[in-house]
Each structure stands twice: as C-alpha cells, then as structure tokens.
C-alpha cells in the first residue's frame, strides 16, 4: 500500500519515523546512518540500479534484501544496514563494478572497505577499461533538472552505453556540464577551447559567448539563453562573465548603500543589508 501516514519502523534497532513516501535511505541519512550509494542523488528520481544501497528488511520471521534508495518502509519493518548478507551482496556488486572499471577510485575505496579480493574477475574481452558504471545520474540530471534530454542509453546488457542520439553531435546539449558535475567516477569531461565548449564523451561542441565587459569567453550561449528564460535575470547581467558580474554587482550595491544610509540613520532604523540585498 502507498503510505498516506508517517510510518514507524526501525533501523539497526533504533526506532524511526518515515514521512509518507519517504525512503529508508532518506531516513537513514537524516539520522547519520551510513549506507553507500552510487546511483542515487537527492535531486533526482531514484532508479535503484547499482544495488549498492541494499539493506535487509525483516518482518515477522522473514527477511529479504531491498534497495534502500527506492524502498519505502512498512509499519514495523525492521531494517538492518550492515548484516553479513548485506555486506556479501555489496562486496560482490563492488567486485563486479571493479572488474568493469578497475581504475575508478571511488570503487577502489569501496573495494578496500568491503574486502574485495582483487583480480578474480578479469574480463576476457576488453571489458575492464571503462570508467562509466552506468549509474545513469548524467542521463537523469540532463532530463529532470536541466530539462534537455540530450543523452540517453544505447544497447543492452554489457553493451549498454550512455550516448547521444545516433552517436552524433547532441543538438539538445546546451553545454551546461551538469552531467560532468554529477558523475561519481569522473567518466565525463568538458573542455573550453577558444570559442567552443567540447563535451568530450558526447562528440558535441557548443559555442561560448563573450563577456560584454572583459571579452572573455565564459559560458555557452545557449546555456545563457536558457538561464535567462528560466531565472529571469536582469537583461544587462546575463552577458557578463561571473567575475564581471560580481564586480558590477558590488559597484551597484555600494552606490545603493551610499544613497540609503543617510535616510536610514535619519529614521533611526537598522538596515538589514544581508536580507534585503542578498535575497
């Protein structure tokens, strides 16, 4: 049943209360109970694909493993986050990922923590040179947060890859770099070269706009357009690079203060600069 009310349950013996629809992972994080994750990000829909966040749930005399990033507890569930069964599963998941991506430091650290014996799963067909663990965070951030849906999956099974439509320049890409930022294994990169931003893994080049003040190429033009549309920044701010924008802002601010301060003093008010200027 989809819960309409808060749910009382326990994690590692501690009584817990989940808000309606709240996952075990979210409750655990609120209470500083560590659960490792690879494909979860609080800003994105969980898809439960890396299976690292498994925990063991018992009710009555039965128990099973569930993925805590999508599992919403039932009343009286007893959740354990570190049983032998949980640890075994996490160890094997990490071992599988390490065989695919031996050079990813997040995985190396996890492997060390969970006691993965190295070298047992040496793939025989060239798998094992990857950095991408297919957590899908980049696809989801581009879709759900940026709203561009510029990248997606191709192929199935171990052939699955993250790519652009038709493996070609992604027309929908605005070069915002959210995918690069969200990637847990540094599998994605971009580089700004002269007047273009190159999304290296996606064969995509986006033109960089020039700052109207200093002339520096500072952000993709299409990104600036989108941000303007969404955030309704001031017309004259949006063509400035961050440094020039900060300077302009500071100048405007000091001019404004010069004007305000005498009046304020006259009224005997205290001026709350932080809220009024920063808000």
């Amino acid at each position: 049943m989809h819960q309409m009310n808060p749910v009382n349950f326990s994690i590692n013996g501690r009584p817990m209360r989940a808000a309606p629809g709240e996952t075990v992972l979210s409750v655990a994080r609120r209470n500083d109970i560590p659960i490792p994750t690879l494909c979860h990000h609080e800003a994105l829909t969980s898809q439960g694909s890396c299976r690292l966040c498994v925990v063991e749930v018992s009710w009555g005399d039965r128990s099973k493993l569930v993925t805590s990033c999508i599992y919403t507890p039932y009343e009286e569930d007893r959740i354990e986050t570190d049983t032998p069964r949980v640890r075994t599963l996490r160890r094997l998941v990490i071992e599988l990922l390490l065989a695919r991506c031996p050079n990813v430091d997040v995985l190396q650290r996890l492997g060390w923590e969970y006691g993965v014996k190295p070298g047992r799963l040496a793939p025989e067909d060239g798998r094992g040179k990857e950095r991408c663990i297919l957590c899908g965070l980049c696809v989801r951030v581009c879709d759900e947060v940026v709203g561009q849906h510029a990248i997606g999956y191709e192929g199935r099974g171990v052939e699955r890859r993250i790519t652009t439509p038709f493996n070609d320049h992604a027309a929908a890409c605005i070069g915002c770099g959210a995918c690069v930022y969200v990637c847990p294994t540094s599998a994605l990169h971009y580089e700004d070269v002269e007047n273009v931003r190159i999304m290296k893994e996606f064969q995509t080049r986006v033109e960089l706009a020039q700052c109207r003040q200093c002339g520096r190429r500072y952000a993709p033009a299409v990104l600036i357009e989108k941000v303007t549309r969404c955030a309704q920044t001031k017309e004259d701010d949006r063509h400035l690079c961050p440094a020039c924008r900060r300077r302009t802002f500071a100048e405007r601010m000091s001019a404004w203060m010069q004007k305000q301060l005498p009046d304020a003093r006259a009224n005997g008010d205290r001026l709350d600069v932080t809220t009024r200027a920063g808000g």
């Binding site: 439960g48 599988l96 297919l134 099974g157």
Partner: protein
C-alpha cells in the same frame, strides 16, 4: 447450463446454428504457424483444388494447432453422422485421396492417425457423439483418439478450441459456448462474486510467476485510482515455447472473452493485448477477432445490455525478452524504453500510466471463461492442492512426440515425457528435463516422478515458468546446456542493474572457459557467488532467476563440471575443445587415407605402420573419421 441469452449473443447463435445444420463433410487443416512451417499451406491448396473438381459440396477451412506438432501437417475430416478422422504428415499429393474418402464417408488409411468419435463442447459440458450410423470396416480399424498415446492422458481446457474451430469465425466460437461466460458474468454476477469465483477456482498465473489470479484482480479492483486497465501479456519470449501463440492463433476469442470478464470484475474500460513482434499471424487473428467482437456488440458500450463498457487495443512488442516482464511491458506500452523498475510499488496499484493495472498471461485469460461457465468448483476439482486446472506445456528437444501438451496439474513429469512424449529418440537414454524456459532448471531423469505443479518444480530448483519442457538425452552436456541458457539471458539482460548486467557476462565467461577446457578449480565456487549476487541483488526476475540453469546443473550434475575442470573431459562428448581423436593402433592398416583427409597435417606415420594424431595440431574437425576404411579412428 442455460443462461439468459442476451440479444447480441442470440443473433450470433442463430447464425452459428444455421451453419451447423448444413451438416456437410468438412475438412480442417491445421494452419497455425507450426502447421504452416511444416507445409500446411500447399496441403490446403491441394485439398481445395481436389475438392473443386468434385460435385459434392464440401467445406475446407483452416484451424489452429491441436498440439500434435510432430505429426504436422495435420488434416481432420468431419464425416457427418459418423466420426471425425485425423490425418498426419499429409502431403499435397494425398489431397485427392482424402477428398475422395471424405466424400465417400470413409477414410484414407495411409495417412490416418486416429478417429474422434465425439465432439466435446467443454464450456457446455456436452459430449456430442458424431456417430449416428455404423462405421465401415476401414473406419473401425483406426484407433480412437482416446486410445492414442499422445492424446489419451491429455485434458484440453485452454486448448478447447485449438484445432477444432476456424479461428476466423466468431460463429464457430459461439457455437461451442463462447461468450456465454461473458454474458453470464456481466448479466448475472456481481464483480465481487466473479473475483470470488476466480479465487475459489485456484487459478494461478500461467505466465511464470504463478500468482493467484483472483487475488490480483481483487487488489486491482480495490486499488484507488481511475481509470483501470487490464492487459494481456502475449509477449512469449521464451525460446522454444509457443503455447500462447497457439492459443491466440487457434482461439483468439477466448482471450477477448476472458478480458471482458476481467474488465467487468476489476472495473476497467480499456484493455491492451501486448503481442510479440514476431507473431504476425497471431496479430492478424486477433485483429479480426476484435473487429468481429466489436461488430457483434461484445466489445464497446453497453455490452449485452449490462451497461459495461470495454474496448481492447493491440500493441506490438518491442522484441526483447525483458519486455515480457510486467513493469517493462507497461513502460513499453507507454511508449517508453521497455525496462523493468523495482516492484516495491505494485502494478495493480500503480501500473500503466501509474494507474491500477491487471496484467495476465494469454493462457490465464483463456481459462477464465471456462471457470465462469463451468464453475469454480469444477475447476478446483482438477489438479493438486496448490495448483489447479491444467497447464499447456511445449514439449521439445529429443522427445519422440514433440508438441503442445495440456495435462492436469500434478501428473508426473514421467507421464508427460514418456507416455505422451514417447520418451527419447531410439538408441538414446533420457538424461534430464529442462523446465520453465531459459531461466528454469534441469531436473535429472532420476527425479522424473515429480508431479508437475508450481511447488514441486520449485522445490527441485526449477520452475513451472510458462511451460517449456526440453527433453535432453545422453548426448547432452549439462555444462554446455547451462552455458547456452546463460548466453541467452546475458544477451537479453537490459543492462539497467549491475548484478544482472555484469554478473551474467562473467557467468558466461566462466562457463565458456569450462567448456573450452580452461576451467579453474575455483570456478565452481565463483559460479555460486555470482549466483548469489544475481539472485539476491537483481532488480527484476530476469536477473533474479538467471542463475537457475547453473545452480540446477551444479546441483544434479556437479560431476560433469568437475570432469571438465579436473580431467579436461566432456563426459557427453559435446564440448569440442575437450574431445580427442585417437587412432587405435591395432586397427590401423597404415593406408595413409587419414593423412590425406586431415586439413591440419596432424596425422603422421610410416606407410603400413600404425599412424598417430598430434593433438596439438588437431583442429578436431573429424574429417579423418569417415576417411578411415578400417574405422580405426575414435573420439574420446
């Protein structure tokens, strides 16, 4: 059992009766996909041509598959007032003789298989004998179907109309009690009492999971949210399984009728049938049946004057095995990528478009009208405590009589394989039965007395699945079998979750190297650990059940794994890399024939002296074996 006959149904009944009263000879050709593949098309043409030359009026129609696929092309001739004759392995050249015999009210003995003396109309609990007059001596000589080894212990409920009616005819379906169940349900029963009946019948899902159908319907009915959907899973992705195809091709209206009943019980007004891409004939048959049902008023608004409204749409599957999984199927119906999602939220509450949705398999839907018409107690009287009714199995592999077999739950595997299937090909011995499709398990011949029901098969580490039964003889290597199924599942893994995606690939790597003679001592425990992570950790049941072929063969045939790994030997003589060709010195005359035959230059020896094969050069092509006039070269 007579019920109030609504107007819409009465009209079709009248047309049906008018047809039946003609009582002229009639010829039916099994023209389902399996029949057509064995040459039913030319047979049908030849029969039509032969009939056209005669004066006698004769009806020649297509019908579905009656299950005896090993005998196809199959032709049946109805001799009015006498009997129905079944012919097998019919060639176009046989057509004139069959037509002549039918005109004369007798049989063409050359191709005759058996005689069906009565027409069982299951839904009305009627057994109508054809025979009014005596049969001639030739007809008397033919074995009755009830005594034919392939048919005698079968019980056709799901296949009640397959191979009996013309699937393109609504009248023929109705004439055998069709749509009376839907009329009864919609006019005389309340939704709750239908659900109660399905629950009491003990019907469980035939698509693999075996979930109690009545409980699923109840949960969906009670789930808040509108609209609700009913869906038929006709994706049938198991290689070698084709019972759903046979039911759709042979009896499409039975599924529509089941869905009408279900929609009323659940409170749904729209249904979807998700059909596998590779089933063009099934899609055609369904389209026609839907059109007929709409024209007759069995679908649409105010069905049978009950006020219930229901329509059905057909969707073509995306062609991946995983699309048969419930959440992937619904994603695919929505036009998204057919990938599973975790089912902590049940699809009966949040399914298609996030609305309450009830998904059932073809065979599940098809059983529903029979339960409604004959009653829950009748159905619950067939089968075992936990598994009720009958199940259709596709018996393939080295069974002598391969085909679709429908038996009551709980008969022994032995009865299905040895009695009905006739055991394995002459000169071989039965080794194992693989049940449950690609992610099922292998049951050794020693356990053949296991009853076929959900619990018993599960207890042996296999499963009912959708009903695949692959018969394996002594020439099968069980490691190779595990490798074969794992390779299939690895290809079909969608790649969303780590355990299935990466685990199946490693599992295949390990099995392949064992088959190639490069197995390592630690490979067996490694396979077991990979099984743990896939079983316990996969997101959907594809990955969760993918280790079954490995686990069940490890359980019952571990010594074969060990022989491969420790002794570099394939006991069944299948794994090529582990075979050695050897020349028996005593038998070798030193004629040099093998030296000439060997493309790898691996054989040496002085003329008229015993020759030897250099194993390091031998490519294991086997060309030397037939070349040796002495038969001195053996395979070990």
């Amino acid at each position: 059992m007579m019920h109030k006959c609504p107007e819409q149904l009465a009209a079709v009944r009248k047309r049906a009766r008018a047809r039946q009263n003609h009582a002229r000879p009639r010829i039916l050709v099994g023209a389902a996909t399996c029949g057509l593949a064995s040459g039913a098309g030319p047979v049908l043409e030849a029969l039509r041509a032969a009939a056209a030359t005669g004066a006698e009026e004769m009806e020649i129609t297509e019908t579905g598959c009656n299950g005896a696929c090993y005998l196809e092309p199959i032709v049946e001739a109805v001799l009015p007032g006498k009997t129905r004759v079944m012919y097998g392995h019919v060639k176009p050249g046989d057509a004139p003789m069959i037509i002549q015999a039918t005109v004369n009210g007798t049989v063409y003995e050359e191709r005759a298989l058996c005689r069906v003396d009565a027409d069982e109309i299951l839904l009305e609990d009627v057994v109508a004998p054809y025979r009014r007059n005596g049969l001639d001596a030739a007809l008397e000589r033919i074995v009755a179907r009830d005594a034919h080894p392939f048919f005698r212990s079968q019980r056709h409920i799901a296949m009640r109309n397959c191979g009996v009616i013309d699937p393109a005819s609504l009248e023929e379906y109705v004439a055998r009690g069709g749509y009376a169940g839907a009329a009864k349900a919609l006019l005389e029963m309340r939704p709750e009492s239908i659900i109660e009946a399905i629950k009491r019948s003990g019907l469980r899902g035939r698509g693999g999971g075996g979930f109690p159908t009545g409980r699923k319907w109840e949960a969906c009915r009670k789930a808040p949210g509108e609209p609700k959907y009913v869906i038929c899973n006709a994706d049938e992705g198991d290689p070698g399984a084709y019972m759903d195809r046979a039911i759709i091709e042979g009896d499409p209206h039975s599924i529509i009728e089941g869905m009408i009943i279900g929609s009323y019980a659940i409170g749904a007004h729209l249904g979807y049938i998700y059909v596998r891409q590779e089933y063009p004939l099934a899609v055609r048959r369904l389209r026609l049946a839907l059109q007929q049902a709409e024209e007759a008023g069995f679908l649409g608004t105010d069905i049978f004057g009950s006020g219930h409204e229901f329509t059905i749409q057909i969707n073509r599957g995306a062609g991946a095995f995983v699309c048969g999984e419930s959440t992937a199927l619904m994603a695919s119906l929505e036009g998204r990528v057919g990938e599973p999602r975790a089912k902590y939220i049940h699809t009966v509450e949040f399914g298609l478009w996030n609305k309450p949705s009830c998904l059932n398999n073809v065979e599940t839907w098809n059983n529903v009208p029979a339960i409604i018409q004959r009653g829950a107690d009748w159905y619950a009287g067939i089968g075992t405590t936990g598994s009720k009714g009958t199940k259709v199995f596709s018996l393939v592999g080295s069974a002598k009589r391969a085909g679709l077999v429908e038996v009551p739950m709980g008969v022994s595997l032995r009865e299905v394989v040895e009695e009905i299937g006739g055991g394995v090909t002459e000169g071989r011995t039965l080794k194992a039965i693989q049940t449950g499709g690609p992610s099922g398990g292998c049951i050794p011949a020693t356990l053949l007395d296991v009853p076929v029901d959900y619990e018993s098969l599960g207890a042996l580490g296999s499963m009912m699945g959708s009903g695949g039964l692959v018969v394996m003889d002594n020439r099968t290597c069980m490691v190779d079998v595990a490798r074969y199924f794992t390779a299939f599942l690895k290809e079909e893994s969608c790649g969303k979750c780590v355990p299935c995606r990466e685990g199946s690939a490693h599992m295949l790597d390990v099995l392949t190297r064992i088959c190639e003679g490069a197995g390592r001592a630690e490979d067996i425990p490694l396979l077991e650990e990979l099984s743990v992570v896939m079983t316990d950790g996969s997101l959907c049941a594809l990955g969760g059940s993918a280790p079954n072929p490995v686990l069940s063969t490890l359980k019952y045939f571990r010594n074969e794994y060990q022989a491969h790994i420790d002794e570099h030997r394939c006991p069944a003589g299948v794994c090529k890399a582990l075979l050695t060709y050897r020349i028996v010195a005593e038998d070798c005359s030193g004629c040099d024939a093998c030296v000439d035959a060997c493309p790898s230059g691996a054989i040496s020896g002085d003329y008229s002296e015993a020759h030897v094969i250099d194993e390091s050069l031998c490519a294991r092509c086997g060309l030397c074996v037939p070349a040796c006039p002495q038969g001195a070269i053996i395979l070990q």
